[in-house]
């Protein structure tokens, strides 16, 4: 999200910069009575003659509204935190990169159980983590996957009582 916000900030900044430069150029050319490099008067005429019912206007409004809505949802929705806060023995907190932990746990499950694929999602709730594992395996592999997950969480220092939910998708049989 930080990178996304930076990209948005850069785009917004570039737009403002371009708009500002355009105004400066237009003002300067107006002061020296030179012909305007951009025919603003033609734009104004064109815009004044446009109607709300015109296809171009409606398309423009719809696109702007859709982009605005997407950006609003992207900024407002609760994205997973980049790092998980941990404490040990009542000491000061430290942080663990969430994606790294998810990646390693997925690898651990794939290498240590009969699962052929495993996707892991870690969420930090107050005082505990919620771990969701979606694995492609036989149903009988569930206890092994859960055991591996809990073992790994303990080694990471996850809070006691963290919840682990394993969802099994059966392997496709190839005849």
């Amino acid at each position: 999200v930080r990178a996304f916000n930076r990209v948005l900030s850069v785009l917004f900044g570039l737009t403002l910069l371009a708009g500002g430069l355009l105004v400066v150029v237009e003002v300067v050319t107006g002061l020296v009575d030179a012909p305007w490099p951009l025919a603003v008067d033609q734009w104004a005429d064109s815009l004044q003659q446009s109607r709300f019912s015109d296809t171009a206007a409606k398309t423009g409004f719809l696109v702007a509204a859709a982009v605005g809505l997407v950006l609003l949802v992207a900024e407002a929705r609760p994205w997973p935190k980049r790092s998980l806060a941990l404490t040990s023995d009542g000491q000061r907190s430290w942080w663990l990169n969430r994606r790294s932990a998810e990646r390693h746990l997925g690898r651990l499950i794939r290498s240590g159980t009969s699962a052929t694929a495993a996707k892991v999602r870690l969420k930090a709730r107050p005082r505990r983590w919620a771990v969701r594992v979606a694995a492609t395996a036989a149903p009988k592999a569930r206890p092994g996957i859960e055991a591996r997950t809990r073992e790994f969480l303990a080694r990471l220092g996850a809070p006691d009582g963290s919840s682990v939910r394993v969802r099994i998708a059966r392997r496709r049989r190839v005849d």
Binding site: R2, W95, S100, T113, G144, G157
Partner: protein, 123 residues
């Protein structure tokens, strides 16, 4: 900011980085994600160490588990460096990644239906 202050800052960041890297179990320090965590100074930077008025934050790649013990050792090593120079700052640690030669130790799990205990090994 005066040049001596910058030099002190750079020296402190380098000392913290050296102390943290020397702790067994620390694979290396890292700048982290898209926004690099580093202490910048004229002519260079110390990647993985961020100094501010309140705290020293160390971003590291762990080479061993469990993490709690490793974190405690790194924190103690950095605190010793700060104490040596008389700097009073908190020590914050961020484990940015794990670099484990072998994933955590072997566990024994039972997969029902196999009729025997299955040995699970790390890769």
């Amino acid at each position: 900011v005066s040049t001596p202050a910058l030099a002190e800052r750079a020296a402190l960041a380098r000392a913290v980085a050296a102390a943290a890297t020397a702790v067994p179990g620390v694979a290396r320090l890292t700048g982290g994600g898209a926004v690099e965590a580093a202490t910048l100074y004229p002519g260079g930077k110390v990647v993985g160490v961020v100094l501010d008025a309140r705290a020293v934050t160390v971003h590291l790649v762990a080479g061993e588990l469990p993490l709690a013990g490793l974190v405690a050792r790194v924190r103690a090593a950095v605190a010793a460096v700060l104490a040596e120079v008389g700097a009073t700052r908190d020590v914050d640690l961020v484990v940015e990644d794990l670099e484990l030669p072998a994933l955590p130790a072997q566990a024994r799990v039972v997969e029902p239906g196999r009729g025997q205990e299955a040995r699970v090994s790390g890769s």
